[in-house]
Amino acid sequence: MTRRVVITGIGVRTPGGLGTKAFWSLLSEGRTATRRISRFDPSPFRSRIAGEVDFDAEAEGFSPREVRRMDRATQFAVACTRDAVADSGLETTALDPARIGVSLGSAVASATSLEREYLVLSDSGRQWLVDDGFLSPHMADYLSPGVMPAEVAWSVGAEGPVTMVSDGCTSGLDAVGHGVQLIREGTVDVVLAGASDTPVSPIVVACFDAIKATTPRNDDPEHASRPFDGSRNGFVLAEGAAMFVLEEYEAARARGAQIYAEVGGFATRCNAYHMTGLKTDGREMAEAIRAALDEARLDRTAVDYVNAHGSGTKQNDRHETAALKRSLGAHAYDVPVSSIKSMVGHSLGAIGSIEIAACALAIRTNVVPPTANLHTPDPECDLDYVPLTARDKQVDTVLSVGSGFGGFQSAMVLHRPEVAA
């Protein structure tokens, strides 16, 4: 008998307000949280806007020592972990630590701290041979992203498998998919799974400037993220995090836990095409969707809502639209599809988990979040993208998809446990 896996706790740190309640208000009201970058002076850059999180480490309860040690993305992950555990009502101290795992996603990990330390060591870029007289002992903590899941593990006392899944922009979906698998196969009973990224730093902004992947719509930050709109011209970078308590279903039920959703299926494929480019046919994403539905043992017509990758680049929106038609057939035209990146931006490795949180809340509230800023759809994007305002709808089963550099294409199916065959 296959073990089933459910989400019993959620923690988020996203642009536009802290915590799950603020997050869901923003989405269900169709408000946007993208703005001119305030974390550094963005004026030398092509794209100067982002979704920033108003995160106060001290108010979150981090000690000065922890703040010095942990990168911003790590702090986000730990804060979300605390919230997720509290939300789940799980007494982690009463569990066998060996039966708790951690699966954390991130694309650029400690980029913020790396850049800060680089400026100190290199005299703001003047020295190639860096000056080790200014070396912080924490430099080794930023060199490898492994420290991030380690901090999450310490925060809950996990001693089972602990890992970072770093699959670029599908990390957030893939890390949760990995955690689900660890429970299904019986290795552990509980996994803290999710993702965190804080890429709003000069080096990452410059990366995407160089390939014109981010939007230059600097004069109108609130309306700059326009997935599926004919006028869209790139994504809006963002930071954020979401963590979940994943539990084996029978154990969760036995303790009377609240259940947001069951993770019914997950699959990932690679396009083996280009590190950043996408073909227009959507073939591999469609295959991932097919495999995820297959694992969930659900027909494609069961999907009540599709949470799109919807980054707001021309190539993504067309690729994804093709993938949905290819995998869902005629149902692609009947099912609402929306992109929350229109409101919270694109937080790289984290967004896949933030979108899972949105899916879980859509199931809980029977509300489909909208695609903000969508006024005139690209004629090649002809599905129902839920423009501007949220929609009340019975939502039992959700499909969430992601696409990332490296060619990764991932799909996850979440549903009410009662939906399972």
Binding site: L121, A140, W154, P161, F408
Partner: protein, 414 residues
């Protein structure tokens, strides 16, 4: 084959291997260096290292990227990715897998790196801050990130199956192979897997030193001395290994030329929180991997140790091994002593060494180490390689902050 699940799955075997290591480019050169103790450790020559306290490195000196990769890949890849791409191609050739051997969705890629494309990104940080954002490379967005090797290998070889990049510092390479095994068990016929690292630019170099675990010794023969009374830290190295992990039935079906061995067991754990007073998780990890393989400690013919080269960590590992197997009850070795520590590449290289030990019925010696404290209670193979039949080997890896991973390999005929 998507419906297949873990229960009753076929064996998962290794049908191709390749190593890119200091002193040993390619599997057989690597194995020769390990068996003869030919060290790849010397003073780092990529930049003027004399201003820094640590100067010795396991540096790859005989790899000309242009000889191994299409020229269009050179501007867009860090040196670590070039190693990964070369190793991947060699491993596939070794396994007799070419384009079209298997359908695209039946082949996946799972790799690990602990540092990403670090030298590449250091250059881009330098350009950004010394010249301005418009000077940053169009390749920086994907040359740096930790998924780069999985993505590049997937593209080069048309592998479209389930793929991933895992990071668990120096334990990540074994985790990648463990996850490749899981992926095969769930229905993907072949997964290319392993790990590679390199960070031999000045920033990467001092960042590695910041761990406090890098030796400042200056004699290459007396620098990285795992389990030695004089252990003073490790020598950082670059390189790694890639393995072709395959479903046994599928390998038979396509007429695979050879099977190096079976990935019989895998486990990973995490140490208790610092200050908890409870023992580290390495022994438990080894026990779980053995249980997964259905083997008892007495079935294991050799242990490939993590071999940190830091007294406190060596003592803890020796205690785990002697506690599980009994004092001096099983030969222990550390081929890393000739290469230095290749971070995420170290575990997969040890795995290849273990499979070659199975093939050749020989256990390599731990180079450079001469004097092991009696209290460690381990039979560390020293001096000369030891000839003995190897039917099952346990490979251990640890990562900073508390990662533990273990893989059990068994011979093809077991």
């Amino acid at each position: 084959m998507n419906g297949r699940t873990d229960s009753g799955a076929d064996a998962v075997v290794v049908t191709g291997v390749s190593v890119v290591a200091p002193g040993g480019l390619g599997t057989e050169e690597y194995w020769k260096s390990v068996l003869t103790g030919r060290s790849g450790i010397g003073e780092l020559t990529r930049f003027d290292v004399t201003r820094y306290p640590a100067r010795l490195a396991g540096q790859i000196r005989d790899f000309e990227a242009a000889d191994h990769l299409p020229s269009r890949l050179l501007p867009q890849t860090d040196v670590s990715t070039r190693y990964a791409l070369a190793a991947a191609a060699w491993a596939l050739a070794d396994a007799g897998v070419a384009a079209g051997t298997l359908p695209d969705y039946d082949m996946g890629v799972v790799t690990s790196t602990s540092q990403g494309g670090f030298e590449f990104t250091h250059r881009e940080f330098n350009k950004l801050w010394s010249k301005g954002p418009q000077h940053v490379s169009v390749y920086e967005s994907f040359a740096w990130f930790y998924a780069v090797n999985t993505g590049q290998i997937s593209i080069r070889h048309g592998m479209r199956g389930p793929s991933a990049a895992l990071v668990a510092e120096q334990a990540g390479g074994l985790d990648a192979v463990g996850h490749a095994r899981r992926t095969v068990r769930r229905g993907t016929r072949l997964v290319l897997s392993g790990g590679v690292d390199s960070a031999f630019d000045p920033w990467g170099w001092v960042a590695q030193s910041a761990s406090g675990r890098v030796t400042t010794a200056t004699d290459p023969e007396r620098a990285y001395l795992p389990f030695d009374t004089a252990a003073s830290g490790h020598v950082p190295a670059e390189g790694g290994a890639i393995l072709v992990v395959e479903d046994a039935g599928s390998a038979r079906l396509r007429g695979a030329e050879r099977i190096y061995g079976t990935l019989a067991g895998y486990a990973s754990t995490f140490d208790p929180r610092p200050g908890s007073g409870r023992p580290p998780g390495l022994r438990r990890t080894a026990e779980l991997a053995l249980a997964d393989a259905g083997l008892a400690p007495g079935d294991v013919d050799v242990v490939f140790a993590d071999a940190a080269g830091v007294p406190e960590l060596d003592r803890a590992e020796a205690a785990a091994i002697s506690g599980l197997f009994g004092p001096n009850a099983v030969p222990v070795t550390a081929p890393k002593s000739v290469t230095g520590r290749m971070y995420a590449g170290g575990g997969p290289a040890d795995l290849v060494a273990a499979l070659l030990a199975v093939r050749d019925s020989v256990v390599p010696a731990t180079a450079h180490t001469t004097s092991v404290p009696a209290g460690y209670g381990i039979d560390l193979v020293l001096g000369e390689p030891r000839a003995l039949p190897v039917r099952a080997a346990l490979v251990l890896a640890r990562g900073r902050w508390g990662f533990n991973s273990a893989v059990v390999v068994t011979g093809p005929t077991r």
